[in-house]
């Protein structure tokens, strides 16, 4: 089998030996219900308090809640805003748009212009393109940093923040809600998952800025190489987080392209209709950019950015071969 290069963290996160060791220790020590007034419950509560303390100290926020997913974290973050109308960019995730009354149009770079009253749900980084929403000037907001927290030093402090453990290399299934205001008590997910996510966050926290700069340089070099060697490729969005990049390869269908890349050892995502559920990505549609032949990378923390050098070469060879096979090389 060819060596595998994981370029899309949404494919999942492999469990390392270190992950398993932390998970096992926390599962053995903290299996009790931390709300139960027994020795077992208190032991679990001790694990939970240690995790909360670590996240508070790393993030600088006074309160943290652990929740099973981003949707529940968003619902909890919006709760203090009551019945205020909720607004998000049309490029936000569908589950977020389902909780918002207004989806605002974006320009061809994916940038939203905030308007209206109520509360904004701001993307610290769009899930497909990495595009960073500007902060609203005249609206309170909740910051959905589920694709950014742990990956950048450039997050504003001052609003409720949603984080997702899969972004920084922990297995998914856990979201954080951070705030300076007290948070309502919530039944915590399994403590072993929390301990693992907090350890993984601790592992990357102090080096996140350096990683971000290395990743930005590698992704920029990749884009320059692709633009120079492959005709008719459109990259989507300028102002974005370092590790996420989306581009469309004209005249190829994404399913054929992503399968060929997978066979060559490169795991990527796509927002094209033929790979998704038959409808094109609502993100690319909102930006009005080409949706076919789409490739998305969202580099996991564990992937060395230099892997993109080899990927650029394989991509160029693959695209050329597939375009010749499809009879579209001269269009």
């Amino acid at each position: 089998m060819t060596s595998r290069h994981l370029l899309d963290l949404r494919a999942g996160t492999p469990w390392t030996d270190a992950h398993l060791a932390v998970f096992t220790a926390a599962a053995r020590g903290g299996w009790g219900d931390p709300r139960h007034p027994s020795s077992e419950g208190r032991r679990a509560a001790t694990w939970l308090e240690a995790a909360e303390s670590t996240v508070r100290s790393l993030s600088g926020y006074r309160h943290v809640a652990f929740l099973p997913n981003r949707a529940t974290a968003l619902a909890a973050a919006l709760q203090p805003h009551g019945d205020a109308p909720r607004t998000a960019a049309a490029t936000h995730r569908r589950e977020v748009l389902a909780q918002c009354g207004t989806a605002l149009a974006v320009d061809d770079q994916g940038l939203v212009t905030w308007q209206g009253d109520g509360v904004a749900v701001v993307q610290a980084a769009n899930e497909e393109t990495g595009v960073i929403d500007p902060l609203p000037e005249r609206m309170p907001y909740v910051l959905d940093a589920s694709n950014a927290f742990g990956r950048t030093e450039a997050l504003p402090h001052g609003a409720s923040v949603i984080a997702d453990a899969s972004a920084w290399g922990a297995p998914g299934g856990l979201a954080f809600l951070l705030s300076d205001d007290p948070l309502p008590p919530t039944p915590p997910p399994p403590i072993a998952l929390i301990a693992l996510a907090v350890q993984a966050l601790t592992d990357v926290w102090s080096t996140r800025g350096e990683r971000e700069r290395q990743t930005a340089a590698a992704v920029d070099a990749f884009e320059a190489s692709v633009s120079a060697t492959i005709p008719d490729v459109q990259f989507h969005g300028h102002r974005r987080i370092a590790h996420i990049r989306s581009f469309s390869v004209l005249h190829l269908d994404a399913e054929t392209l992503t399968r060929a890349l997978d066979a060559a050892g490169y795991v990527v995502g796509s927002g094209s209709a033929c790979v998704a559920d038959g409808t094109p990505s609502h993100v690319l549609a909102a930006m009005g950019v080409v949706t076919h032949g789409n490739v998305r990378i969202a580099l996991p923390v564990s992937t060395e950015p230099s892997v993109l050098d080899g990927f650029a070469t394989v991509l160029a060879d693959t695209v050329h071969r597939l375009r010749v096979e499809a009879g579209v090389a001269d269009l």
């Binding site: 008719d232 459109q234 004209l250 005249h251 190829l252 269908d253 094209s272 209709a273 033929c274 038959g278 409808t279 094109p280 690319l284 549609a285 009005g288 950019v289 080409v290 949706t291 076919h292 032949g293 499809a326 579209v328 001269d330 269009l331």
Partner: protein, 72 residues
């Protein structure tokens, strides 16, 4: 020139348009009909990249007709 691309899925309608545009002279008009949801986005997006003028002239029961005036 008329292109009937109804029934075709992404990216075939864009490929057919690109093939037609390759041989037609600058300034010519291509009418293309599609019923694929991706084509509704991709045909105007492709035209912007290639600097062709694109206008949606009909939307009938999910079948869209775009008129593309080929630019230089």
């Amino acid at each position: 020139m008329n292109l009937d691309c109804t029934g075709q899925r992404c990216p075939q309608p864009v490929i057919e348009l690109a093939r037609a545009a390759k041989t037609a002279p600058i300034g010519s008009l291509i009418r293309i009909s599609t019923d694929d949801p991706a084509a509704a986005i991709d045909i105007p997006a492709w035209c912007r990249m290639r600097r062709h003028a694109c206008t949606l002239v009909a939307d009938c029961a999910g079948t869209l007709t775009h008129e593309v005036r080929l630019g230089g």
